[in-house]
Symmetry: C2
Subunit: 191 residues, 2 copies
Amino acid sequence: MKELQERIQKDGIAVNEDILKVDSFINHQVDPELMEHIGEEFANHFKEQGITKIATIESSGIAPALMTARSMGLPLIILKKQPSKVLNDHLFQTEVSSFTKGTSYELTLSSKFISEKDHVLIIDDFLANGEAATGAIRLIRKAHATVAGIGILIEKSFQPGHEKLVSQGFDVYPLVRIGHMQAGQIEFLES
Amino acid sequence: MKELQERIQKDGIAVNEDILKVDSFINHQVDPELMEHIGEEFANHFKEQGITKIATIESSGIAPALMTARSMGLPLIILKKQPSKVLNDHLFQTEVSSFTKGTSYELTLSSKFISEKDHVLIIDDFLANGEAATGAIRLIRKAHATVAGIGILIEKSFQPGHEKLVSQGFDVYPLVRIGHMQAGQIEFLES
């Protein structure tokens, strides 16, 4: 997506080989017009997939996922992060560990909002090692629902997340792919 | 706002005198069309206030705040919750304690995204004791910016938050006011 790539070139900050700051338009300050265009782009790409619900992981995926849900006329489900396991019969839960950050959390989803008939489109801001996306997939499968696709704003293509998901047969659609970074420099791949 | 009040009557669950569950359309599953109408309502109410930025507190205010930002053509700032104080010169921070939950967190805002020229509209889902809103106000004032108004989806008018904010001279605009609750029953006040 040209608009997002140009915005990253203009306002994104490559801190080092791994860290890209996009907090002036995606993560901390959010540009609603850009989010609307992103939502339209995902809606257009996934329109033939029979999707019934959009899901995202709390909290930086909420803005683009809401705009995608709006464009597709579908409900959004926010997968919630809990610090530890909650005892509740009506809750699907799975542990997500971030190797890079050395942290873990329980991702949770109420069984009220998902059924085996659902075809779910997962939207998230970044795809790097794929830990969060893999957790979301596990959670959706616990509900016996189908993962119909994965829409990503920014893929760090030099990390293994994309390959992991595609090798499992998922339709992964990154709007922007980054092949290499170093401080002050970002190299994009063709989408 | 009639649409929101009717939706609460239909899908909200009063668990007891204090707890109202709206997780099927606001908090966990989100109805994008309702959020869009809410955004238009806030935009209309606050349109003459010279607002420059919308702010909300991570994470259940993000959806209505994004739609308000979209309707007003303004950036959204997400005030981030951190478990503990972060040492950073470019970050405004304030501690928010929830007496009811017995928890506290650091609310943070990067100085890059706010200046003394800003007139900020705060959007949040609930107003009860006003702890989160008061924290957001403190943070915005640390940046010497002006709080131009506070838009709330659901006010628990039997708790002191509204009175606390109004007595400090703030323009508080709740879309729905609840006067009393008990299990299975919600009494609304006129807005």
